[in-house]
């Protein structure tokens, strides 16, 4: 189910391929024209690029063109213009060089073809006109508006003639002008600066783009109906599927147990491999084939699970969504190209869902691509977002719930501080949900070296110089993947300073982005929701001062930050830091809220905890204690 989104990524990625190093080049003008062409459209792109620096002559040596089974090259003009505008060289279509697939699937029919320009000189320009014919499976198109370098003039022209044309512009509104007079659509921009690459950007927001769609399927129910027609289920599950379902549910006493057994089989026995060949990038393989070969992608696994459920007497639906941290669907532009993932939605009552299961809108949401979790857990990259539940004319866009409390990473250091300030005790890592997956994979794969390395890195970044002993671990029962690791640890000189002036700087998990990347940020921020907590439990030597209890809390729509110092009943010094991130996507005012939390986290990380004797009820003006 990743073809459409992958196509968008590929197009954006092409921008990266060209612009990845050619940032000094200037696109003098770029025009993209879409015109109807039978059941598809023609896309004509004309580009003039000025080569400004020596670096540009290398990076623009090869101009990439993305082709596929449904994207055909119709015409090409590729010229090198000397400084005066004279055509110095031109590259005919027959000289194009094809160089393999794009993306990280097992196989993809997408092909990068390159125009191999001759040796280029600074001051020259490239003039490229590429016309491609697209035959998309659904009448929609994505046009990348920013190729990653400065653009003096941009014009995207969607000709009249696309019936029921509709569009969504994912771009800063102040930079682009839209004109819909004449029945078509024109998007223009002037003097677009070179976009700086920013971290933590959801893939769908990485590059400004225009998404257009046309045709009669203009609503989400219509898109769902289209999908049903494009990839219909067989009237009945095949006999092999029935046999398999019967075998798998033989011992299941309840509907949920049946759903669980079938889900576990698809999750654990059908390995994930993505193969995208033309329309096959959208249409699931027949379940019998998926069973036969033992592998499939998300849509294959979802379709197989649906068939197995059907065979077991439980009806469900394919649900299309845009997976990934911070990803979001533009709800005003119904189009299947917004989706990059498929899961399954089953009526909760029919499935016998529990209160703790991912249920919302009367549906139990199941991701057969996850390798763990059964029906009781969803990968956070699929939680808390809109999904299209495919159900013919009753298809609808519904919200997948967020599983509260399912994602957590905790680091606990519990032990004794000696007179010399050294610490000895136990470090414990508690991981739930997504944070647990990597640990579990390495532990169950017996990769002891990797586990030791990762644990050492985790602890030593918070307690420099820590020495670790033998690791013990255990996996918790339940649907949510969870693991606990424990290791003896000693930290030299955790507490520093002289009597009366002792201090320590307890490290903590810091999941938030650095405040500097949020300065003036407009592009949304992708976050990993959950709870990150660090706890220090320190038994201090007799006679040592302790700090007065203190607590700072910051709570806003994006999350919560807590920094607490307390004295336990047994006199131990208790230091707790927690960061709870409540959302996957921070944008608009949410960025300011996120910055607030990030600054608090940063300041706490810089601050020392001073061990002072009596009467220190008021901490100083700074956040250091």
């Amino acid at each position: 189910m990743s073809k459409g989104f992958a196509a968008a990524l590929l197009v954006a990625g092409l921008a990266g391929l060209v612009a990845g190093a050619a940032e000094a080049a200037v696109i003098a003008s770029r025009t993209v024209e879409l015109t109807p062409d039978g059941d598809g459209y023609l896309e004509r792109q004309e580009l003039t690029v000025r080569l400004v620096e020596v670096a540009d002559t290398g990076e623009w040596q090869r101009y990439p063109i993305l082709l596929d089974e449904d994207i055909e090259l119709v015409d090409l003009t590729a010229e090198v213009l000397a400084a005066g505008g004279r055509v110095r060289a031109s590259v005919p279509k027959r000289k194009l060089v094809e160089e393999g697939g794009v993306g990280d699937s097992l196989y993809s029919s997408s092909r990068l073809t390159y125009v191999p320009f001759p040796v280029l000189e600074v001051g020259e320009s490239l003039h490229v006109v590429v016309t491609r014919r697209h035959r998309p499976v659904f009448p929609a198109a994505l046009v990348v508006l920013d190729l990653g370098e400065a653009t003096e003039r941009l014009r995207v022209d969607v000709a009249p003639g696309f019936p029921g044309l509709r569009w969504h512009l994912q771009a800063p509104a102040d930079r682009f002008e839209v004109d819909t007079a004449g029945g078509g659509l024109e998007v223009t921009a002037r003097d677009l600066p070179r976009a700086a690459r920013q971290p933590y950007v959801p893939d769908g927001d990485r590059t400004p783009h225009l998404h257009v769609a046309w045709g009669p399927d203009a609503t989400w129910p219509a898109v769902g109906r289209w999908y049903d027609g494009f990839a219909p289920m067989t009237p009945e599950p095949a006999p092999e599927i029935r046999t398999l379902a019967a075998r798998l549910t033989a011992g299941a006493a309840t509907p949920r147990a049946k759903v669980e057994a079938l889900t576990r089989h698809v999750q654990e026995r059908v390995r994930y491999e993505a193969v995208q060949i033309g329309e096959g990038g959208w249409r699931p393989s027949p379940p019998v084939e998926v069973v036969g070969r033992g592998w499939g992608d998300c849509k294959d696994k979802s379709r197989l699970l649906l068939d197995l459920l059907r065979a077991a007497g439980i009806e469900g639906h394919m649900a299309l969504l845009r997976a990934g941290f911070g990803e979001a669907v533009a709800e005003d532009l119904p189009s299947p190209f917004q989706f990059n993932h498929a899961i399954v939605a089953v009526p909760a009552e029919a499935a016998g869902a529990l209160a703790t299961d991912p249920v919302a809108n009367g549906l139990l949401w199941i991701d057969p691509t996850a390798t763990r979790g059964g029906v009781g857990w969803l990968l956070p990259t699929s939680q808390d977002r809109m999904a299209l539940v495919v159900d013919g004319g009753a298809s609808r866009l519904l919200h997948i719930p967020k599983l509260v409390g399912a994602e957590e990473l905790g680091l606990e250091l519990d032990g004794v501080v000696a007179e010399d300030g050294g610490f000895s005790g136990t470090a414990r890592v508690v991981a739930k949900g997504n944070p647990a997956l990597g640990w579990l994979s390495n532990l169950e794969g017996h990769d002891a070296v990797k586990v030791e390395d990762d644990l050492a890195s985790l602890v030593r970044r918070r307690a420099p110089g820590a020495k670790l002993g033998e690791i013990r671990w255990g996996q918790s029962e339940g649907d949510v993947p969870a693991v606990t690791l424990e290791v003896p640890v000693s930290v030299p000189s955790l507490v520093r300073g002289e009597p009366g002036h002792r201090w320590l700087r307890p490290g903590s998990l810091e999941p938030l982005p650095e405040p500097r990347i949020l300065d003036g940020r407009v592009v949304p921020v992708a976050l990993s929701p959950g709870l990150w907590r660090t706890s220090w439990r320190l038994a201090l030597p007799a006679g040592w001062c302790r700090s007065a209890p203190d607590q700072s809390v910051l709570d806003n729509p994006v999350g919560r930050w807590l920094d607490r110092l307390s004295i336990g009943d047994d006199g131990r010094l208790l230091l707790d830091r927690e960061v709870e991130i409540r959302t996957q996507r921070a944008e608009g005012e949410g960025i300011a809220s996120l910055a607030e939390l990030a600054i608090a986290e940063n300041r706490a990380a810089r601050s020392r905890v001073r061990l002072r004797c009596g009467g220190e009820a008021q901490p100083p003006a700074s956040t250091s204690r």
């Binding site: 160089e99 393999g100 070296v449 601050s607």
Partner: protein, 650 residues
């Protein structure tokens, strides 16, 4: 006829030959799987292994006419854990020269079912239209824990020269791997096994009137673990290579890869196969250009430098590997203004000749691709071609393929490697120049000033030299992008600081990069009455890449180059502020290097200077002691770099 080396075509897979003695009589039959393999659930000695190679067989059949030879490969793997399922996907490269035929496979399930590899699970992607380089991928069906997957295929090639090693080991344990060479009697082949001391190769030879089958096998081979900074796989795996040393046609002996003089003759001689000679047959324009470009230059060195820069900068690099040039001539490469590494070296040689300067072509191999073995007269173990002119009585090594290399500089991967000069009457082995830590330095000076309100601002300078500079130089990157890249780097190194005014001066000819910047603590980071400064930025080591304890390390270490990091941190503070916590100094010196910090405080001037120096002087750490020393240096660095300098307002 020679072929362009496709070492990767076989090195990735480890080429294996199927013994005729064990191949089924019919091409359709698959080998019987012993019960012991079906019941195997764990590999003795390697309980953590996710999968195991049960059997790898290969058969290399040499055509008596020397025209059409083949390689039959059979592989059988058992999946032992969930993570082992990844070994059920296969990848086979091919090209015009290595043509894949007849890929078949099947999965044996624990319940006894056998599922064939369908055509819908085989895919081909073409990576280069020029040589039809392709990658064939396949996904074995229904793989689960306990499954055994087996697959086989044939590679056809039109030469007798298969000079790629066969690797007996892989990243998972191997129970048995064997290779059989079936050679006609009119060809002489010499086997060159390379394996650790004490490892016994099983050998078997069958002779027939017209041919000989030589089988070599190893059993119970351990996996080659993937550890940070490990020696290249090519150095660690037991292997064997067969070299054709002679052919006999019509009673005449034709020496092939018999010894190094003969190998050089094959490239430089007058024969049809002498590709270097063919390249130089049309070099008049190149020599003339060399003469013209150096007219007016007085010294040999000036001439050589000018021509080196011309070939380096004006001839675009085509990405190919191996010592053979393409089919164009020197003049054609000059006219096209593009060529691969070998062609550029040969072109430069021709141009130098035009300027009256003699030189030798040098064959070598980047260290990260494996050691060269002078005992094996195999030209395909080389993947680097340099040029060595003699200037003023001194031999200088040049690599005109890299725009970021100064005249006489080589990339660190050639440091101290063995190389063969092939232009002399007798090929000569040399060792390429070795750099020392003082050649490859990062030197930073950071000056910080604490303000009354607890803010901090300052300036910094970072100078990179030698290999460090080379790593950062990129002629293909624009100036703006270079500044952006360094700004981002500095921002991550000085967490909490705003970085501004970054300038970058890149000097390829001096192998030097100089970065300057200004920095200021961001307002929201100012604590007011306390300032905590990181004492090692921008070199702070937050994660130790060598944290694995020495007793657990299994492979020798190879570092990229020896180097030295040197930091000078100057801090000044206003009246009313004092040092509340000083970083503890580090002082570790061992045979591999040092990690030393020093702190000098001038209370009267309210200033201090902290110096940090970390040297790593060795690169090849074959023994456990070396890794132990490296581990200790990095542990000390990580501990020391976490030490803060804290100033408080009184």
């Amino acid at each position: 006829m020679f072929f362009r080396s496709n070492w990767w075509a076989v090195a990735v897979l480890g080429v294996f030959l199927t013994s005729l003695a064990t191949l089924p009589a019919s091409a359709k039959d698959w080998p019987e799987i012993p019960q012991s393999e079906k019941t195997l659930t764990q590999v003795p000695g390697f309980p953590e292994a996710p999968a195991v190679v049960l059997l790898r067989q290969g058969l290399l059949t040499i055509d008596p006419q020397g025209r059409s030879s083949s390689l039959d490969v059979y592989t059988r793997i058992k999946v032992l854990t969930e993570e082992g399922r990844e070994y059920a996907n296969g990848t086979i490269p091919s090209s015009n020269f290595w043509r894949l035929r007849g890929l078949e496979g099947r999965t044996h399930l624990p319940d006894g079912r056998i599922v064939p590899l369908g055509d819908d699970a085989k895919f081909v992607e073409e990576y280069s239209t020029l040589y039809k380089r392709r990658v064939h991928t396949f996904a074995m069906p229904e793989v689960q824990v306990g499954s055994i997957v087996e697959y086989r295929y044939r590679i056809n090639f039109d030469t007798v020269l298969l000079a790629e090693p066969w690797y007996f080991q892989w990243s998972i344990p191997t129970l048995r791997s064997e290779i059989t060479l079936d050679k006609p009697n009119n060809f002489g082949y010499a086997p060159y096994p390379l394996m650790p001391p004490g490892v016994q190769l099983e050998t078997h030879v069958d002779n027939t009137p017209k041919s000989a089958q030589m089988t070599y096998a190893l059993e119970n081979q351990p996996p080659i673990p993937d550890e940070p900074a490990r020696y290249p796989f090519e150095d660690l795996s037991s292997q064997i290579v067969f070299l054709p040393f002679e052919a006999i046609f019509s009673g005449q002996e034709v020496p092939l890869l018999k010894d190094w003089p003969r190998v050089v003759e094959l490239f430089q001689g007058s024969g049809e196969e002498a590709t270097y000679s063919r390249f130089r047959r049309k070099d008049h324009a190149a020599r003339k250009r060399g003469k013209d470009l150096t007219a007016g230059l007085k010294t040999e060195r000036d001439k050589a430098e000018a021509l080196y820069r011309f070939v380096r900068d004006e001839i675009a690099l085509l990405p190919t590997v191996g010592v053979e040039p393409g089919r164009r001539s020197a003049d054609a490469v000059l006219g096209d203004k593009r060529g691969d590494q070998t062609e550029k070296a040969l072109l430069l040689q021709a141009m130098l000749e035009g300027a009256g300067i003699d030189s030798s072509i040098v064959w070598t191999n980047p260290r990260s691709w494996g050691r060269v073995n002078p005992q094996i007269p195999n030209p395909y173990q080389f993947h680097g071609v340099l040029l060595a002119p003699e200037i003023g009585g001194e031999r200088i090594f040049l690599d005109p393929s890299d725009r970021d290399l100064a005249f006489g500089a080589l990339e660190p991967d050639y440091d101290g490697v063995q190389a063969l000069l092939i232009d002399t009457k007798k090929p000569e082995w040399v060792t390429l120049p070795v750099s020392i830590a003082d050649d490859n330095t990062r030197q930073a000076v950071v000056r910080l000033e604490v303000a009354e309100d607890g803010g901090v601002k300052g300036v910094g300078t970072l100078e990179l030299r030698g290999a460090h500079a080379w790593q950062e130089l990129d002629s293909a990157r624009s100036e703006d992008d270079t500044v952006a890249r360094w700004t981002k780097w500095l921002e991550t190194r000085f967490s909490g600081y705003a970085i501004d005014g970054v300038t970058v001066d890149q000097d390829v000819e001096a192998s030097r990069v100089t970065v300057r910047w200004q920095l200021a603590l961001r307002p929201e980071e100012v604590l007011g009455d306390e300032v905590s400064l990181a004492t090692a930025a921008p070199f702070t080591l937050r994660d130790n890449p060598f944290s694995l304890s020495p007793e657990k390390r299994r492979t020798p270490v190879r570092l990229s180059f020896p180097d030295s990091d040197r930091l000078e941190l100057h801090v000044e503070w206003p009246e009313g502020w004092n040092i509340d916590a000083k970083p503890r100094v580090a002082n570790l010196v061992n045979p591999l290097g040092r990690m030393v910090t020093e702190l000098t405080v001038d209370g009267a001037k309210r200033s201090l200077v902290l110096t940090r120096r970390m040297d790593v002087t060795g690169t090849d750490l074959a023994g456990g002691a070396g890794y132990g020393q490296l581990h200790a240096l990095y542990e000390m660095a990580q501990l020391s770099d976490a030490e803060p300098l804290v100033l408080v307002h009184e």
